[in-house]
Symmetry: C2
Subunit: 271 residues, 2 copies
């Protein structure tokens, strides 16, 4: 029974080890197990599933509030998970928690999110993983309700099996707990960013661009993460690591790609 032992929990984020969000995640999770914190030493928002291929990584031990010890890593959120499981931890953790992110990671934002990429890396490594995001970008955001949601999900994790190679993408509306209606299992809403670059000139007359944009929801389903959040619910969306578009395989079979080339040398061999 999971509930009879203390969990070994690995904690990461993408806003950096000093962000309020990870502090509140630690506060919510500490009663559930032994925590190991490995997080970026600087903000890594928008890093997606990036890893450090061409540069070495540093790990520095840091003392967080209370007795909690952590490691600040010079790399990306995914680097943190790889270093934690490959170097720091003696055994595979029971659970990875990532966040609490300052800002939403619903719909296709999961692709850009370092928070969710850390959780997805956990799922790739076969470790149950959850990413948490609060719909408030501010460093002064109120994480009181988020901590309650984290605790509810950790209690449910203790009581239930977790399907293999899946991560949970948990998004929390920016509401006081008493105004959050409930928790819904959702699917990723279809949408995209419509880019509106802020085009400027530097002091030397040369162009540069800031990436901005507006999120554009492309569907109206009521079982999506966006619908849940807009209607006052916490969204819990299970995330896949098999990226194959299985539904599209029949369409591409219709392309009649040459499954076997008839190379001249092979043709000659027939005679």
């Amino acid at each position: 029974m999971k509930s009879n032992k203390k969990l070994e929990i690995l904690i990461c984020n993408d806003d950096g080890i000093t962000a309020p969000g990870i502090y509140h995640l630690i506060q919510a999770a500490k009663e559930f197990g032994n925590l190991t914190i490995v997080a970026p030493d600087s903000p890594q928002s928008g890093m997606g599933h990036a890893i450090s291929v061409g540069k070495p990584l540093r790990l520095n031990k840091v003392h967080l509030e209370g007795e909690t010890e952590g490691w600040a890593c010079s790399g990306t959120p995914v680097d943190c998970i790889k270093l934690a499981t490959g170097v720091i931890l003696k055994h595979k953790p029971d659970l990875i928690l990532s966040g609490i992110n300052h800002g939403a990671n619903s719909s296709i934002n999961i692709f850009y999110s370092g928070t969710m990429s850390a959780a997805i890396e956990g799922a790739i490594e076969g470790i149950p993983s959850m990413g948490f995001s609060l719909l408030n970008w501010s460093m002064d955001a109120d994480f009181t309700a988020s901590k309650e949601i984290v605790k509810i999900l950790l209690q449910k994790f203790l009581e239930n099996p977790f399907p293999p190679h899946v991560a949970l993408n948990v998004n929390i509306p920016d509401l006081p707990f008493e105004r959050i209606k409930g928790i819904r299992i959702t699917r990723q809403a279809q949408g995209r960013w419509v880019e509106e670059f802020d085009h400027r000139k530097d002091p030397y007359g040369r162009d540069y661009y800031w990436l901005t944009g507006k999120f554009c929801l492309e569907e109206e389903g009521e079982d999506t993460d966006i619908w849940a959040l807009e209607n006052g619910y916490v969204s819990v969306c299970p995330v896949e690591i098999d990226a194959t578009a299985h539904h599209a395989i029949p369409s591409f079979n219709m392309w009649r790609l040459p499954h076997h080339f008839e190379h001249p040398s092979q043709v000659e061999e027939k005679f």
Copy 2:
């Protein structure tokens, strides 16, 4: 009919605008349409779906071999696609081609790959997109066979519909064309990297780590990308942008999460 008009093709990669792979992709694609090349100004391998959130982006016009004009971008592969469709191009391109990557992007490597993230960004934006990778990391790799494969797929693209919001992940074995057996539609093999960090000391006695590792295939299916490549076939794997683990939703429904909280104020309201 797609085949009666010249395609508008956007070309990107992650090895950088001066890499041999993108040069050979341009050579293979140019007979099919008007090309716009927007690629990183430096190598961006392993950047995954990273975007530049906190820093401005530069775009510099460069002259490539022949009359081809391109833009070197200071950002990631996904930044390149966003700048191309948001700033450089007047109209949505008909097709995005990314690569040809120096090295494989099969199985879960799709998550780390900047090449495939550029193609996936295209799929998010509703543009048919294909990423190409050759199973040879060397800058001196022979792209002769790869160019033939690109041409075959572009011809098939002209003749067939392309399902919406899907990208193709094309991996090409490092073989002369006459030894490539054929082209297979595949699914992503289940596997992961087993990390083996190279732990060193810098001249000041401080630790640092290089990320290395060994790919570990975790299944034996004969319909996977890895199987195709190991058996001399080109792998064409359709890739999804809906990351929802639909198959896992029933498992999480069993968690009986509180769909509706009974907040004290609501309870009071009942009386």
